[in-house]
Amino acid sequence: MSLTRAERTIIVSMWSKISTQTDAIGTETLERLFSCYPQAKTYFPHFDLHTGSAQLRAHGSKVVAAVGDAVKSIDNVASALSKLSELHAYVLRVDPVNFKFLSHCLLVTLASHFPADFTADAHAAWDKFLSIVSSVLTEKYR
């Protein structure tokens, strides 16, 4: 699965808006994840996950920044996320199903923040892009 030129254009252009709000979007995505999929909390026993927590904000920001790294190297996501891929495979070992949950919550957050930009075509492009990111992050699992 690879992105068409049109899909890349959509993602890069929407990223320019997202990058001005990475903290808010990251925090909200994680709040949605932990509200809708409480099983995801099992990976964060060491975190304070309450609304407003500094750890939540910092981690959300980190996650969205990584998505940004993938956008900046959209022609070679595997190389941009190579270290993160190893981290997830050998250290974090987050079950792959959680990438689907996180991707879905990021899409909902984008839809809620950018309703006019999040057309069906944009939605399709982002869904495809996030599934590429997810598969890069899990490709070294076994």
């Binding site: 509200s35 809708c36 909902v108 957050t109 809620s112 309703p115 057309t119 069906a120 075509d121 399709a124």
Partner: protein, 175 residues
């Protein structure tokens, strides 16, 4: 969910707690709290079934094009604008979301409510239940574009639970 039941039957008999609550609930029941039901009802009251229904189904067919295999008779599905404007997609989207409206009124017995539809989707329509989960997620994303900040994480959680439960109810009679 906090479990307030006494840990042993002996404790149950000696304490204030009514005995019947120590027996297991039927395992088919998904339990929605009062808050979750309120979150669902308050948003549902503002939903334009025609618009949200047709857009949700259209997004399913656009974002996951392989789902078009279920709609050979729908005519032109060759582009995003064709799908969005397709009258059969609109009609069917409205029908599906009306069915969801029925779900919001029977949240305590979704499996019973969807028995007939479940049999239909298995025996006559041959729909992979994974599609119900995908469509549920499309509904949520469309709600997010329509309600924006109002579609908070808590409201999404209640609706997520409902769409998951409806998907399970529709898959329940599969064999």
């Amino acid at each position: 969910m906090r479990n307030k039941r006494p840990r042993s039957e002996a404790a149950a008999r000696t304490c204030f707690w009514p005995i019947r609550l120590t027996s297991k609930l039927p395992d088919t029941m998904v339990h929605f709290t009062t808050e979750e039901k309120a979150a669902v009802a308050s948003l549902w009251a503002k939903v334009n079934v025609e618009v949200v229904g047709s857009e949700s189904l259209a997004r399913l067919l656009i974002v996951y094009p392989w789902t078009q295999r279920l709609f050979d008779s729908f005519g032109n599905l060759y582009s995003e604008s064709a799908i969005m404007g397709n009258p059969k997609v609109k009609a069917h989207g409205r029908k599906v979301l009306n069915s969801f409206g029925n779900a919001t009124k029977h949240m305590d017995d979704l499996k019973g409510t969807f028995t007939d539809l479940s049999e239909l989707h298995c025996d006559k329509l041959h729909v992979d239940p994974e599609n119900f989960r995908l469509l549920g997620n499309m509904i949520l994303i469309v709600l997010a574009t329509h309600f924006s900040k109002e579609f908070t994480p808590q409201i999404q959680a209640a609706w997520q639970k409902l769409t998951n439960a409806v998907a399970n109810a529709l898959a329940h009679k599969y064999h």
